[in-house]
Structure formats: C-alpha cells, structure tokens
C-alpha cells in the first residue's frame, strides 16, 4: 500500500487566480516560477490523472510530469485571454488522453488506488470510507470518457460549467447534459451504497 495522502478541499483552494507575474516569468523559462505553478497545481493534476487512468499511479505520475513539461514548453502560447487554470486543464485532458492511448491495456484498480485513512477515524469507519471511496473511483473510471471528464473537472478541480465547457471545447449545455447522465449513471451503479454516504 502506498502512502498516499488525502488532501481535503479546504486545504487546496478550488480555484484561484494564478499570479500573472509567475506566468510571465514561466514564459521566459524561469524554473522557479515553474516550481511555484507546480506546487500550486500538482495535487489536482495528479489526482485527475490518477482517476482518469484507472488508478495507475505510475501512469498518473508520468502524465503529471508530462503536463508540467508541456506547460514549460508551451506556456508561450498562453495568451492570457482565458483563465490559466482552464488552459492548464486542457493540457491535462490531452495528456491523459495520450497516456491512455499509450497504455493500451486494462489496468485493474489496485488497493493502492484507495486513499489512506484520515487521522482520528476508527478502523471500522476508516475501512468503510476507503471502501466507499474505492467504489466511487471505480465507478467513475468506468464511465465513458465524455461523461467522466465533466465529473472529474467538477468534483476534483471544482470548475464551473463555463470553465468545464472551455476545457472540453464544448457548450455549457453539453456540460450540463453530460453531468446529468454521469450523475444518473453513478447513482445507478452505486445506489446500493446510498446509506453509506
């Protein structure tokens, strides 16, 4: 079991305006600026990669690495006419698509996909929570990509419908429709666990 640390949403601001000077410095190849952006986004990028790549930690780590390398080489293309986060998550989605194609194999969900327990929980509660989280993650991983991405961008990244639409290059209405279908699919697959949430 790997020591994965679950970070609560309160610890990570769901969305914040990335400092334009940091981005400008990054555009000039400043590695310290890249480090600042990395620290700000690494956990969310890694999480979304992990969930979209069936819990394959190695692939998620590789994808996260690729995202920040691409960020460094392509940030010159960022014009500032969109939120930096939106631009970054486009990179994440494309990189995960590429990584998924590279995998070309079924990666079963391992125990390590499940986050470790939060402090202060009883072993029983901890087990139940892990069990539930694992089943949710499995159900999300089994969604079709077009339904899975809006779910990940909404619940892991905390984006608005408008932002999700920009990342996925579709309309806000399409996002609403896909989230509708995704929610119902999750409800159907996990309905027997509704007393555990």
């Amino acid at each position: 079991m790997l020591d994965q640390i679950v970070v609560t949403r309160e610890q990570l601001p769901v969305k914040e305006s990335t400092d334009s000077r940091t981005i400008a410095a990054c555009q000039q190849g400043d590695r310290e600026a890249l480090r600042v952006l990395f620290e700000e986004y690494k956990d969310r990028v890694y999480s979304i990669a992990l969930y979209s790549l069936s819990g394959d930690e190695m692939a998620a780590g590789d994808a996260t690495q690729q995202v920040f390398l691409k960020l460094m080489t392509r940030i010159g293309q960022f014009r500032g006419d969109a939120e930096f986060a939106t631009w970054l998550y486009r990179l994440v989605v494309n990189t995960c698509h590429d990584e998924h194609r590279k995998q070309r194999r079924f990666v079963p969900l391992a125990d390590s996909f499940l986050p470790t327990s939060a402090g202060g929980e009883s072993p029983r509660a901890s087990y139940a929570r892990k069990e539930l989280a694992g089943r949710v993650q499995t159900a999300v991983a089994e969604l079709k990509p077009k339904l899975r991405w809006p779910i990940l961008l909404k619940y892991v990244e905390g984006l608005s419908y408008e932002e999700i639409a920009q990342v996925l290059n579709c309309s806000k209405g399409t996002v609403a429709s896909r989230l509708n279908r995704a929610h119902k699919a999750l409800g159907r697959r996990l309905g027997h666990l509704k007393n555990e949430i």
């Binding site: 994965q4 640390i5 679950v6 970070v7 609560t8 949403r9 990570l12 000077r21 400008a24 555009q27 000039q28 190849g29 590695r31 480090r35 990395f38 690494k42 969310r44 890694y46 999480s47 992990l50 969930y51 930690e57 780590g61 590789d62 996260t64 690495q65 920040f68 390398l69 460094m72 080489t73 392509r74 010159g76 293309q77 986050p115 539930l132 989280a133 949710v136 993650q137 159900a139 999300v140 779910i151 990940l152 892991v156 608005s160 419908y161 609403a176 429709s177 989230l179 509708n180 995704a182 929610h183 119902k184 699919a185 999750l186 409800g187 159907r188 996990l190 309905g191 666990l193 509704k194």
Partner: protein, 387 residues
C-alpha cells in the same frame, strides 16, 4: 398545471448554475412534478457519490522527473565567445554608466518608478494621459495610439522610446534587474549598463541586453523581430537562445522562441529561406530552405551557419560544415569530426573567430556615441540633450 419538464436542468439546478428566474422555475416545478422530482433525486444521489472523490497528493518523484527531463532538453549555446570583445565594451560602458547614474540619480527618485516623457500625441499610463513629470510604476501599462510616442527612462541606465500603437508594462526594477514587457508595438532601447541588467519580455521570448542599442517589434500575433544597432542582444525562450550582434536581426515566433540570427545585408532569398527554416512545420520546406541558405551564404553569413550547425540534423550538419569551410576556414585545431559531433570547445573556438567579422559599421558607432553624449554625458557640462 405543470410547466415544461425540467429533467435536463437537474444537475445545473443542483450546482446552482442556473439564472435566478430559471432556478425558481425549476424549484416550483419540482414541488409539483413527481417524475422530475425522482429524476432530480437520482442526479442528487450521483452527485453525492461524486463528492466522495478526493484530492490525492502527487508523489515527490514527479518534480524530480520534471527537472531531470528539463535538464536533458537543455542545450544552451555557451556565450563565452562573445564575452571577450564584449568585456572591453562592457568596461567602458560600466564607467560611463556610473557617471550617468550619478547624473540621473536626482531625477529618478521615485522608488520602483521610471520617468516618462511624451514625445508626441497622447500616450497613456493605465488609461490616463501623461503629462510632465509622469512616472511608470511596476505593473503599470504605458500605451500609445497611432499618433503618440513616449520615452521612458530605464531607471538610471538608459532609455527606451516607445513607438505608436505600442503597449508596454514595467515588470520589475531593482539594482540587479530592470524588466519591461512589450505586449505589442515597437520600442527602441539605448542601454548603458553591464550586460544582463535590462530585459524585455515579449510573448515569443525575452530580449536580454548585453550593453547595446536595439529595436524590438511585436506584432498582433505576439511574434517579434529584433534589430541590433550596437553591441549584442541575447534572445531566449526556455532552452533556445540566439545571440544577435550589431547589424544583425533575429525573429522570434510565439511558442517557438528565437530563430537564427542573420546580418541584415544578407540577400533576400537568404533571409526568406532562413525564416522558412526556422518556423516552417514541414520538413520538406525546411530542407529546401536550407539548400538556398547554403548557396546564398557569404563569408559574413557564416555567423548564421554556425547556429545552423546546432539546429540541423546530423546529415545536414555535414553540408553546413562543408559550406562554412568554403566561406571561413576553421581554426587549426577545429576538426570536421569534432564539429559534426558538436564538440563544444571546437564550436566555441570557431565562433570566436567568426565574431571578428561582425564588427560594427563605423557610422553607427559614431551615431550612437553622439546620441549618448547629447542625452547623458553632455549634461555634465550643462548641455541639454537633443531629441
């Protein structure tokens, strides 16, 4: 009676993404429509499960991997070769800059602010028309329209003229770094300072002053062109770098960075082909362009060919080398095999030899020093600078 069903709006309603009136309509409808309410409950249940997704911290090894790959990709051209002639110029410039600094220290007293003078029209700082004694603070934009021009004093080390239809911002000013951003338009910089003190960011790369005078232009697409009139300027974007001597120019392309420097008196086919070689996507176009570059090259263009040695594949490198040797013979201890294997020391020695050929036209030197005198040193004797 029931209004239109609202099942398609369930998620948007749950996430509070609807306009107030629409949200109210959905709420009222759900109270009275059992099928829509059941649908909404399904969505709500799925959403509650989705909320169980948690953020997982990335392993520390990810950053180490990023750094390792950046290092692998980093093949920066060394700069030592041009530092030799530059060292002499820099010494002179440092002395002059010191005097200039003393002269100007009483004028630029606002911490983190640069003096701005209107040269024509109505230039603006953050939308306010500028007048006498205007200053540009860190983070502020200076904009010129089609009929206005302005001059900015770069702290105490020189000045920058801003042409019409330009937009510049002061990013940083400190004893170790002065940095402007040129978002669009054109500026002409005259800097009297040690190298690596004044920088201009553009959307396609950064211009690093090495003690010089130059113009830098950014078009609407964020692509840039640099013309150096005195000294040297280094253009950079991540691991791509071009050092541009006086009399030469270099283009930068957004997302690509600096192209290959060339002397402005090179032939038109040479310059056009170099642009294709630097920025075309198609390999066939690049190959054809390289053939024209090699056939059109003069001895003075060996500087450009030196950069191409680093930017072509191994098969073409031999062709570039062979053409270079017909233009400028390599130093005695520089071998064909060493150059084709990109032996750094040999490349540096050859580049040092090439640098002799990039001497400045005397007329431009005279013009620069005259400008320097009238605008700065002349004030020692109470002579007003002429603009």
């Amino acid at each position: 009676m029931f209004s239109k069903h609202v099942t398609s709006l369930s998620s948007a309603y749950f996430h509070d993404e609807l306009a107030a009136r629409e949200s109210q309509r959905v709420a009222e409808h759900l109270l009275s429509c059992r099928p829509c309410r059941a649908d909404f409950d399904d969505v709500k249940l799925g959403a509650r499960f989705a909320e169980q997704l948690q953020i997982v911290s990335a392993p520390d090894s990810v950053w180490a991997g990023v750094v390792a790959q950046l290092e692998q990709k980093k093949v920066k051209p060394a700069r030592l070769w041009f530092m030799k002639p530059l060292a002499i110029a820099a010494t002179i410039i440092v002395v002059l800059a010191g005097g200039t600094l003393l002269l100007r220290s009483n004028r630029n007293t606002g911490a983190g602010q640069w003096n701005v003078a209107r040269l024509g029209g109505s230039p603006r700082i953050d939308s306010q028309n500028i007048g006498d004694g205007s200053r540009l603070g860190v983070g502020q934009w200076l904009e010129t329209d089609a009929t206005s021009r302005a001059q900015i004093d770069v702290a105490t080390i020189g000045n920058v003229e801003i042409d019409p239809n330009s937009r510049v911002r002061l990013l940083e000013t400190s004893s170790s770094e002065h940095r402007l951003e040129l978002a669009r338009g054109r500026l002409s910089a005259h800097i009297l300072a040690p190298p690596k003190l004044f920088f201009v960011n553009t959307p396609s790369g950064v211009a690093e002053d090495l003690g010089c005078a130059y113009t830098l232009e950014v078009d609407e697409n964020g692509n840039s062109i640099l013309h150096v009139t005195l000294g040297w300027v280094s253009l950079q974007l991540i691991d791509r770098e071009s050092s541009v001597p006086a009399g030469a120019a270099c283009a930068m392309r957004r997302g690509v960075g600096p192209g290959t420097p060339y002397f402005e008196d090179a032939s038109e086919p040479f310059r056009a082909s170099l642009s294709k070689f630097d920025f075309a996507d198609n390999q066939t176009d690049k190959t054809a362009a390289l053939a024209i570059i090699l056939s059109e090259a003069r001895p003075r263009d060996a500087m450009t060919l030196w950069y191409l040695l680093l930017r072509v594949d191994s098969a073409d490198r031999a062709n570039v080398y062979d053409r270079m040797t017909t233009l400028v013979s390599p130093p005695q201890d520089v071998t064909r095999e060493g150059v084709l294997n990109l032996d750094r020391q040999m490349l540096e020695r050859w580049k040092a030899k090439l640098s002799i050929r990039s001497e400045l036209p005397q007329k431009k030197v005279h013009s620069f020093w005259k400008k320097l005198w009238t605008e700065t040193l002349g004030r020692i004797h109470g002579l007003a600078g002429k603009r």
